[in-house]
Symmetry: C2
Subunit: 409 residues, 2 copies
Amino acid sequence: MSGPARVTHASTRAAVLDLVRAAGMISRVGLVNATGLTGGTISTVVRGLIDEGLVAETGHAESTGGKRRVMLQLNHFARYAVGVHLDDARITYVLTNLGGAVVARISRAGAGADEPAAVVARVAREADALIDSVGVERDRILGLGLVAARPSEHHEFGRALERATGLPVVLDHDATAAAIGEHWSGGVGATSTFAALFMGTGIGAGVVLGGTTYRGPSGHTGEIGHACLDIDGPRCWCGAKGCLEALAGPAAVVEQARADRALTRAAGLVGGRTRAATPVAADFAAISRAARQGNTRAVTLLERSARYVAAAARTLANVLDLEVLVLTGPSFAIAGSIYLPVLRAELDSAFIARDVHPISVRLSPSAASAPAIGAAAIVLQSELVPRRQGLRLPDDLAAEEPPVFQALR
Amino acid sequence: MSGPARVTHASTRAAVLDLVRAAGMISRVGLVNATGLTGGTISTVVRGLIDEGLVAETGHAESTGGKRRVMLQLNHFARYAVGVHLDDARITYVLTNLGGAVVARISRAGAGADEPAAVVARVAREADALIDSVGVERDRILGLGLVAARPSEHHEFGRALERATGLPVVLDHDATAAAIGEHWSGGVGATSTFAALFMGTGIGAGVVLGGTTYRGPSGHTGEIGHACLDIDGPRCWCGAKGCLEALAGPAAVVEQARADRALTRAAGLVGGRTRAATPVAADFAAISRAARQGNTRAVTLLERSARYVAAAARTLANVLDLEVLVLTGPSFAIAGSIYLPVLRAELDSAFIARDVHPISVRLSPSAASAPAIGAAAIVLQSELVPRRQGLRLPDDLAAEEPPVFQALR
DNA sequence: CGAGGATTCTTCAGTTACTAAACAAAGAAA
DNA sequence: TTTCTTTGTTTAGTAACTGAAGAATCCTCG
């Protein structure tokens, strides 16, 4: 037998499930075509998924000359996942179903300087309340996704939360979560190469290459906020000069606006006068509002920022050969309408591979709550489409070997 | 059931072979530890590789209290590969063994405006001469790798060369080839994430993520030459402003040097006066020579270029979370000693993940012939470590499905 | 020197997940 | 109705692994 098809996807089951999710609705024959597996294999795999309740037969396609295809769909309400976004100002909780659709959502004040143990207890309580509010059985919750701007600072918190809730907890970067959320919700193709450009108070990017999340060896992938756009530019906290964030991030925009008396007054910026919980986010929102209402100084400021963001986005697209770029995160939720056309124009005119394939630039439909939704999507992905566990290939093989050799014979 | 001496799975075989290559010398137990497979599996896989002549037992390790481990090594002279680098000025041919070491090498004048059919015949003849010069049997040549700055323009040429030589031909980008060459030769770890920054007349980067070459959906990955470093900078041929190539590429350096009368005279630049075959490459070499001899104007010019290249390299490293950055290609072969310290300083002080893991910046030991060696390495990789063929996951599944549905029952 | 333990490598039955091919079911065309 | 097409299931066979037992080799110690 020639059978080459031992599939490299972690499991065929996961691959088929992911295809059903990505397609929305598909028949067994469609799965045969999409996977390259035989009808027999698809038949048994699908039966297993139906028995588990994850997939359901939902109707028939019209005949194409023979028996009609039985259509399959993800049983969206078979399982759920909790997503939690830790921000300085607020903690956002969402409960999503298998399709990544938000079933329930609450938002509470940030933890501030509270005792870690107290925060764990509080987050566990609030997550429980979220689950109870829609009456979902506990064993249908796949897990809890936790995202933050600097996930490495929340490792201990995640472990404690795991104990407190009894749910598996996965921890990730907000930008990566946003990218996975977009991917899971089906806005972009199943195998597409795309980035989610994430703007909160900082700027980052979540990267999905050919349908697979790329995190990098230390999870620091996509740090586009520190792309250099001016080698003699202002010094950034990261140690370099001319970083995108320092030139055009929300904090920089707010600072520039505050230097403008007229704009400060017109937009009603608070940061200059009082100590709000999140002066940058609030003032950036105020500037965006002013721009939408026609304040030319605000428009000029944001368009200047957009030009820098667009240049960095072009660099990102050129380096990764992107097919899709999604703008997401709280700042794009507010000011996306100003940034989007500038980024589109830049990539339409200067993306290096534009003659080979187009690059689609769009605004996330749920930019504001993208991190929390993405957090839940990470749980869905990690539980239902486990990572392909390739062979371990340690770097220092020599170290595993005894150092002294003697010639053969 | 228990059939004797079965052929093992292609991808396992490939993984084991790749481990033997990467480790240099390893025992069966070492392979068990590295792969996670059982001893029995490793035993049969290794027997197959030894039967094929690809691997050999080369000695014993010292005992750790029991039977001594039998050490395995790649049989470097079991197979060979030809690498061809098409440049405007020159065509470089190398013959490498399984380890990626150069066994023979010739270089001839570029094709210029010659008839394509004549060039095919000539390249086939010269490749044959290369093979004959070391007396390697034809059936030990795995194939011919062909690299160029714009591979898409050489598709037809590659097919014709395949017919003319009777060897499988693989075509790729020069920067990608250089990266694979570095990876295969073992300079970087087996699973490391690194980029080969390639500077010829343009600037590009070959990208290897976690040991796997990343080419992107259209093969345009790593276009760092068009990273934006000045949003109001000079216009580049790509349509954008302030691209690295336009600001600091070899062509830009040469242009800046020609504007300097004293430097033009001191370095003996030809481009300004005569029509050399490759004025940019020749003049860039002349400037580098002048800089090494202490000409301060030349040094200033190259260091200015290095600052831009360093800023782009930092952006690349931040976006991809790189562990290693290798400088390669003809221009770094000439001027690497000037660029290297500037890039090192930049990344040591401003790489965003520097506190989590260091980034190693180094010059390729074979920068000048990296494209040709890499071309051969691509053949080795594609023939010996075939791509894991995952499931096909077409993007537009909906299109494969009949559009009209009717409710079930 | 030889028994006994440690370690490495091989053999082989059993399991899993696939394929190929025959079969069954359902609709269209005639 | 009969015949053809298409979809989905069942079944036998097999590639590629695992796990456990056994053989081979080396060291140590009485």
